[in-house]
Symmetry: C2
């Protein structure tokens, strides 16, 4: 398997969104052929892929048929058919991350149980089966209610402040998580290959859009002290070790007002909190994921230059064929690189792209990022 | 024309080699659809292109038919059919760089005449029509003989040291150029858009493989003083201004032992001397070319981190299906990014890829680059 380059080696990805698209950009450097499975005739990853198969990543037959002639299979989204991946794994296809780990992470309840078992710090929680059960914990409100399965991009998560909110709660198996009074939201990306080599990226700080529950700004490096940074990295490394994980894992953490770190969520794939690494770090998260799943030596993760990442979300009140305005103005600012994901249609808060701003001074990058945010508009054609 | 992104806007490139391939990687960030014209059923740029047309870039009909439905046309190699491009330009297709400039640069004799006319410093030269004419200049030997048209990648260039070498000389219209006793070979890349905005990249230093007459190592930044750097940049800017050039132009210069700068050659496209910009500079040469030809604001060219670029040339004595060895060893070195061009067949000195090494200390990057050079082998399968 040491002969990936310019060969018939076949790497398959389940999912053809922006993560697959940026992964392909990195894989081109290694001349590894990437094959995509995604529903519909086109997707962000379709035009750059070596081959594109129209199929449902949640359907057993589609995943199995796509995977059976691949050498290595990976994912760019968690909601994939696990039985098909397990069967492929048994038949000798390398599937990274391993299907049983994707399965665990698909279920936010199982994730929380895993943290508890391995003494990974996380917010206190209860597991419930339906909306009625919320009432049993009424004295402990407020909670974040998170659906155990199927949540994505800010969906499937809800704040229950008091009794009156319960009626709005999800009537589905969920995690009820105690509110965390946090100072900052941090993230760290860790990679591990089959040989067991582990590397982590420097920590980043995330600022969320409260309405969409999506990251609005990301700052690299995070403004935290060394001690916190080391602790967060140790937690991330502990998670991949305990999971025996191969691939890249994003770990989102709360830094509480008492300087405590709590794991919020993990994602077993390249992640929004690592997009800045394309321009800002010596190895990008996408190249690192490729190296990890091919069991290549992991790349140096050091920061090349401080960076700020801004998500381009579809503007509220606009749906339909996308039109970007203000692009020329932001391109005139120093250190601005756009990443337009190639989605033909916008809708409110849809992730349509991101912009990275690099600058030797992080504060200057922040200033420019705010200008970018205030200048670019993601709307629909009138 | 301000609506390129995620739209039906069509950008065509004549040529589907590694330069087209890396250009596409950059264009994906802008979601601009890139269409490729190249001979054969596949090429380095084919799998990532939005569409791929099998045709000859030197053939009038092929170029004209490919170009007529494009919004903007560009090149990744100079040897293209000029009459077709001129006709397309007349019919309203934007062709950048402009066909008459490509035509001028195709001819090394016309290039030299251009320098002379505009007082751009260059080595003294004579224009000859055939091999016999070399004898007229016998007292002025040695010369570099450069075929006026058709030379590429070290081909079409020959050193004539003394009378005995004349028999080996090209029997074709050529430039006879006086030997330059140089200290360093430098290069600077300059971009200009339709609005007339000009930006140059910091200078680099090139070290050639004497046998193949191809760049072996490139160092960024060049080890030169500010005065030389400013002079070189002024020369590059003078050239694009006098040409009324739109696009990206690579200017290769000799720094003589008397600290004089002489233009050696220019290339009207992304160039080997700019590959390090992908990892090392805030904007890559490929993104800059895209910005220039779409008349977008040009990107900041500052160095992010010092870098060394090593060309991966096919090993002597090996032809056939390529096999890279030593890749894992080089990937274990810090700051190493490979760029494998996706050529199935190797041959001696063929450009098969390049490797960029970045490091906060250029000397450390050089050390690692030498290890890379001594470790990786580009050979054929046994």
């Amino acid at each position: 398997m040491s002969h990936f380059y310019s060969n018939n080696f076949k790497l398959g990805i389940l999912g053809g969104g922006q993560l697959g698209r940026m992964f392909i950009q990195a894989a081109i450097n290694f001349d590894v052929n990437v094959h995509i499975l995604e529903k519909g005739s086109e997707s962000p990853a379709s035009s750059a892929a070596f081959s594109y198969t129209n199929g449902d990543i949640q359907n057993f037959e589609d995943v199995y048929n796509f995977g059976k002639d691949k050498d290595v299979l990976t994912i760019e989204i968690e909601n994939v058919n696990i039985p098909a991946l397990k069967k492929l794994e048994q038949e000798g296809v390398k599937v990274y991350p391993q299907p049983h780990i994707i399965e665990l992470i698909q279920d936010k309840g199982a994730q929380k149980a895993f943290y508890e078992k391995h003494q990974i710090p996380t917010a206190p929680f209860y597991l419930i089966e339906n909306r009625n059960e919320i009432s049993s914990y009424i004295t402990e409100l407020p909670f974040m209610q998170k659906m155990r399965v199927g949540g994505y991009d800010g969906k499937g998560v809800l704040a229950l402040h008091d009794e009156n909110d319960i009626i709005e709660g999800f009537d589905a198996p969920s995690v009820l998580e105690k509110f965390v009074d946090f100072e900052k939201e941090l993230a760290v990306i860790v990679a591990r290959n089959e040989n067991g080599e582990i590397k982590t990226f420097p920590l980043v700080e995330q600022e969320f859009n409260p309405e969409a529950n999506l990251v609005e700004f990301l700052f690299s490096p995070a403004d935290i002290n060394d001690e916190i940074s080391k602790k967060a990295i140790a937690i991330a490394e502990q998670i991949v070790l305990k999971l025996d994980f191969v691939g890249i894992l994003a770990v989102e953490l709360f830094l509480t007002k008492d300087n405590e770190l709590l794991v919020n969520e993990i994602a077993p794939r390249p992640h929004n909190s690592g997009h800045h690494t394309i321009e800002g770090n010596i190895t990008s998260q996408f190249e690192q994921h490729l190296r990890a799943i091919l069991n290549l030596p992991l790349g140096c993760t050091d920061i090349k230059i401080p960076s700020v990442m801004i998500n381009l979300l579809g503007d509220k009140g606009y749906s339909g064929k996308v039109k970007y305005t203000g692009m020329e103005a932001i391109l005139a600012l120093p250190g601005v690189t756009p990443h337009i994901y190639g989605k033909a249609e916008t809708k409110p808060f849809r992730k349509m792209g991101h912009v990275t701003v690099v600058n030797p001074a992080l504060n200057k990058a922040k200033e420019i990022a705010i200008k970018v945010k205030n200048t670019i508009r993601v709307q629909s054609e009138s």
